[in-house]
Amino acid sequence: MRSKKLAIALALTLMLSIGLTGCSKATNPSSQAPAKLKVAFIYVGPVGDAGWTYAQDQGRKYLVDHVSGIETTYLENVPEADGEKVADQLVAQGNKVIFATSFGYMDGILASAKKHPDVIFLHCSGVKTADNVGTYFGREYQARYLTGIVAGKTTKSNQIGYVAAFPIPECVRGINAFTLGVRSVNPNAVVKVVWTNTWLDPAKEKDAGLSLAEQGCDVLAQHQDSPAVVQAAEEKGIHALGYDSDMSKYAPNAYLTGPVWNWGPYFVKTVQAVKDGTWKTNAYWGPMSDGVIDIAPFYHVPTDVQTLANEKKQLLLSGKWDVFTGPIKDQQGAVKVKDGASLTDNEMLSLDWFVQGVQGTIPKTQ
């Protein structure tokens, strides 16, 4: 009696769990169009209307509009551990180019790529390449620098808060670039850093933002995936910079601007190269001049500050100057980059020190 009930219950639970949790969706199921190049995208989250995956999907749409003779598919909410399985499945469906849009797919993608040498894989923010696996990312720090100019000109208290996710080079680089931007227009301002140790925990991020506001910061910047920090600024009546995509609707009075991703041009270039047979594996780290990273439209930013930021943007676009060009001092005032010198890509990718003007520490991860 008892075990029968147990069996029924377990079956019921299982059915419910399986029936309702599967929510991946594919558009354009495999049809008979052999001439078309099939391109697939693996997303870590839902497309939704904002954030990381949304930005990637906007890129996919741009690709569809700008390259003819292709067919795209996407899968949402793919757990990072399932990368290999899902990639194999996409290959079996005839896809010849696969974009894996999250860091955690790395090893799965490499494993799948080994089995399918005729398929080209592109892995976002990855650090490992192979003959048929390329990586792609954008020089987000350039946009950070520009938002720093806006923050430096906006602050009245000369204290700017920065809510950051993890003490990894990507975040450290963003904080440094931002601070260099701030100090380029306001040498007296300081940037206070608080680590949350999470990419996504809105309640924690909001509290981190509030704690900075309590300390007298009147502009908040962030390297997080939720809009909680700009919401904290809105609540406190101060200003904020967003991330990923335009967050103005969450904080109509507080939001100034923020770095935003724009993958479309890169997807077009890559897929076109594959079609033309000219694609070679590479580790792409796209500058602002390629259009992969930009800043959102300005809100509540005076015209003269907009001009200032736009001038620097033109300089970045021209390629004549980059953010980490000396002289740059560290927190202790020691010169880390000499006048005229600049950091190499490898140095930028392994940054583990703060520039002058940052208040905070980088906890050792080892």
Partner: protein, 309 residues
């Protein structure tokens, strides 16, 4: 330093509130003898459904009500499985969390990136809000925080000073005797589990509608599990649950404020503290309960079937 202390205590209340709702709910379920490890799942379903209701109607109170209803429905699954069918409560609860996580992600697909049309704002309580220190810490929040100030004593009174509260506790301590006294153990347990679901739903909705109004997948980030641990920390008492929730909130709030004023402490240690604290509390309580016999409800986790008595 004074202002930092007040800020930490004030933040402790708001950070602790969603956990407090969920903890109160779980406390009732456990007092009736049903362990529900599905709190995290129920919170997520509450968070997403409350947010959807608010987006569609523009009314945040309706959102709270829908979150309660959704929490009840999810809890009903657990009640059916564990009370009616006598399934292992741990297994069912774990399944419920996985189910709730998936369901909320599925339901909320189109809700990502939409701002709440009607966020809660803080409610000034006149002279109460202006009492030095106390006012700043306790009475400069939103209505949902104030509601817990009433709810906690009410829960305590219900459990300890009403006949129905006694029935509920009896179902958790000795369901056999409760049954023999002519009470319907199943019905009591159903009611307690469903109340737990409603409270977890509100706890989730506090995050998505009040604290950081937006829906994001997995936005509860483990708070449901903290609630389960806090019930034990509270030794199944509503007032101690409140203390525990604020303590947890306070540690989290303190971590950020120490960083913001430049006190160097590894954020890894800080984010570990609340959990470490829970473990220490668990050890102390278990040790104490062996001596004084104040422990878990005796029939916690055990299915009750009349024939098997």
């Amino acid at each position: 330093m004074e202002s930092v202390t007040v800020a930490v205590l004030s933040a402790a209340v708001t950070v602790g509130t969603p956990i407090l709702y969920a903890t109160l709910g779980e406390l009732f379920a456990e007092r009736a003898g049903v362990l529900n490890l599905g709190v995290e799942g129920m919170m997520l379903v509450g968070a997403v459904s409350g947010f959807m209701a608010t987006v569609h109607t523009g009314n945040h109170w309706l959102g709270i009500l829908v979150a309660m209803a959704a929490g009840c429905l999810v809890a009903l699954i657990h009640a059916f499985l564990t009370v009616s069918l006598g399934v292992n409560q741990v297994v069912s609860g774990l399944a419920l969390t996985i189910f709730g996580t998936g369901l909320s992600g599925y339901l909320g697909k189109d809700m990502v990136g939409i701002p709440s049309p009607s966020p809660f704002s803080s409610l000034n309580l006149g002279f109460l809000s202006h009492i030095p220190y106390i006012g700043q810490i306790l009475f400069q929040h939103d209505a949902m925080v104030y509601l817990t100030y009433l709810l906690v004593p009410l829960c305590w009174y219900f459990l300890n000073h009403t006949a129905s509260g006694l029935d509920l506790r009896a179902a958790g301590e000795n369901p056999g005797a409760t049954d023999a006294a002519g009470l319907d153990v199943g019905r009591i347990r159903y009611a307690a589990v469903i109340f737990g679901g409603a409270m977890a739903g509100v706890g989730g909705a506090y995050l998505s509608l009040v604290y950081a109004p937006a829906w994001l997948e997995n936005m509860t980030a483990g708070r449901g599990w903290i609630a389960v641990a806090l019930v034990i920390f509270a030794i199944w008492d509503p007032f101690r649950a409140m203390l525990g929730a604020y303590l947890f909130g306070g540690i989290e709030a303190l971590g950020f404020r120490l960083q913001a004023i430049g006190i160097t402490m590894s954020p890894f240690v800080l984010s570990m503290l609340p959990y470490l604290f829970t473990i220490i509390a668990l050890i102390l309580i278990t040790y104490g309960s062996r001596k004084n016999h104040v422990g878990a409800p005796a029939a916690l986790g055990l299915a009750y079937e009349r024939e098997e008595r």
